[in-house]
Symmetry: C2
Subunit: 308 residues, 2 copies
């Protein structure tokens, strides 16, 4: 297997202005591996759940090539649980409940069979936990992508800076980029963050798309304007899974190919928004994915001749 | 002349988190005609100022082919004045002062020499004033573009609906689109607004770019991530001026060409943000415009092969 993903596997209770669902399957690593499974035949999961997590979902993931040797199942304990409520704009939300449960004592163990992985996706978790994973992999992967959030900037900034030195691609949202860099301009913020370790920065802007920066280039991927957004939960993780899944499939980490991977990630994220939880990721066909990518092409392409 | 623009010619006092400037030259029609002057040799201005408006600015505009037969200069009266303060994100602002002055009694007069215009830009003004202009033009122009704002949706909705029936392209921001349609989804909002009269809708999202809709298509133009934003005042009007100026130059109102015009408008708007007031529009060269349009091409272009 050439892709390993670490992150939560969990339950979410989600309230939007239009609907509410309790204890939906969720978790960063769930979305990441399910999104990536549309591009690669096998991946390795590193996570922890309690004995309350449904076996049929684990079976479904296994049937999609998601290896669970790195998944710890803690008997007599409960899975991570998050409850949140979206604002009317669906672009921002409040956290109502965070029950760490099994996550409170999570020490990731990377099985020997995962050691040769070329692509490593570190989903949002404590930076020290993300670092534990990096340290257990003897051969440095070809590409390490890390997702994080403002919570760790507030509570574990030193650990975050340590792990940033070990990675290739950082994915955060625009407010987090501004916070991490202490710069309002995203161009300046990107430049500063690219001196902290990562060679690439992806700034996720939700319904406003995503920006990919390296030292010399910038690429703007739009978000697809959607007729209905049922639930944006997991969109960022789905983006990450589509992004790294496409790179792992194509085995090309040039900026040009990362642009394509950002489009693929954006296309996958747009599906996740259409239903509660990961439901859309479980039913997607290759044809639907192709159609969606073609919509992104149509959404942005133009040709213009310049004047003398 | 094949382009006529109506709108304010005014003074603005502008405060950003980083700087402040009093009584900068401003006004929707100022930005529109200056932006358009980079694409067409002549245009006609319809507006009103007091005797406090500097003659050298009017001379400068005249030197750029901006005909002022439709500009009323009211002796002993003052020009429209707006003062505003931007929030830290520079994407939102509070109005501090609005002194209508000459605008309070503005009755636009369309000179006979403007009657043959093919492209009409109705800058943000009371919808009834925009209607007065339409009604004075005997031959319906090839393309009528209207800009408006939430203030008129709150205070003159009936007049606004009446003028919407007479136009081809509406430009508003995302919150205004949601308000006008009573729909949160921009896709649904666009569909509804396109039943109100306009055949095209442009939703301006500031630093998040712009969306162009017709009945069947949507195009997403990014905004260029800027290193420094000095002052976004006039960016929306500059966008409109670049958009209609490009269309008037190319004489092509297909959706494909409107996509180019949206990119041109976005490029022009990015310049306006770089200095206070219309300063950048007065010094721009064709080479700078071409370079900027090439940056937009580089920002968005990608090629992707689909899987079987």
């Amino acid at each position: 297997m050439n892709l390993i993903a670490v992150g939560t596997v969990a339950f979410d209770s989600i309230e939007t202005p239009f609907a509410k669902q309790d204890r939906v399957i969720g978790g960063a690593a769930t979305y990441i591996t399910l999104a990536a499974s549309h591009f690669i035949k096998s991946s390795g999961l590193i996570s922890v759940v309690g004995d309350d997590f449904p076996q049929d979902m684990l079976d479904e993931m296994a049937s999609r090539g998601i290896n669970q040797e790195g998944l710890q199942i803690k008997q007599g304990e409960k899975s991570f649980f998050w409850a949140g409520k979206y604002h009317f704009d669906l672009n921002s939300r409040d956290t109502l409940i965070t029950d760490l449960n099994v996550l409170a004592t999570f020490n990731p163990v990377v099985p020997a069979s995962y050691h040769g992985c070329e692509f490593l996706m570190l989903g949002n978790l404590a930076p020290s936990v993300q670092m534990q994973v990096i340290e257990q992999i003897p051969n440095r992967p070809k590409l390490v992508v890390l997702d994080t959030m403002n919570f760790w900037m507030d509570s574990a900034l030193e650990d975050l800076h340590a792990v940033l030195k070990k990675i290739d691609v950082l994915t955060i949202n625009d407010e987090e980029a501004r916070q991490l860099a202490g710069e309002y301009s995203l161009v300046k913020a990107a430049r500063k963050i690219l001196t902290m370790g990562p060679k690439y920065l992806i700034i996720k802007k939700g319904e406003h798309g995503a920006l990919l920066f390296d030292e010399h280039n910038v690429f703007y991927a739009p978000a697809l304007p959607l007729e209905e957004v049922a639930d944006p939960t997991g969109a960022g993780d789905t983006f990450a899974g589509g992004f790294i899944g496409y790179l792992a499939k194509t085995q090309n980490i040039s900026f040009e190919n990362m642009k394509r991977a950002v489009i693929v990630g954006s296309a996958m994220a747009s599906f996740t928004c259409e239903k509660f939880g990961p439901a859309r990721l479980l039913e997607l066909t290759q044809e639907e994915i192709n159609d969606r990518i073609e919509q992104f092409v149509a959404l942005t392409e133009f040709e213009i001749a310049l004047e003398d």
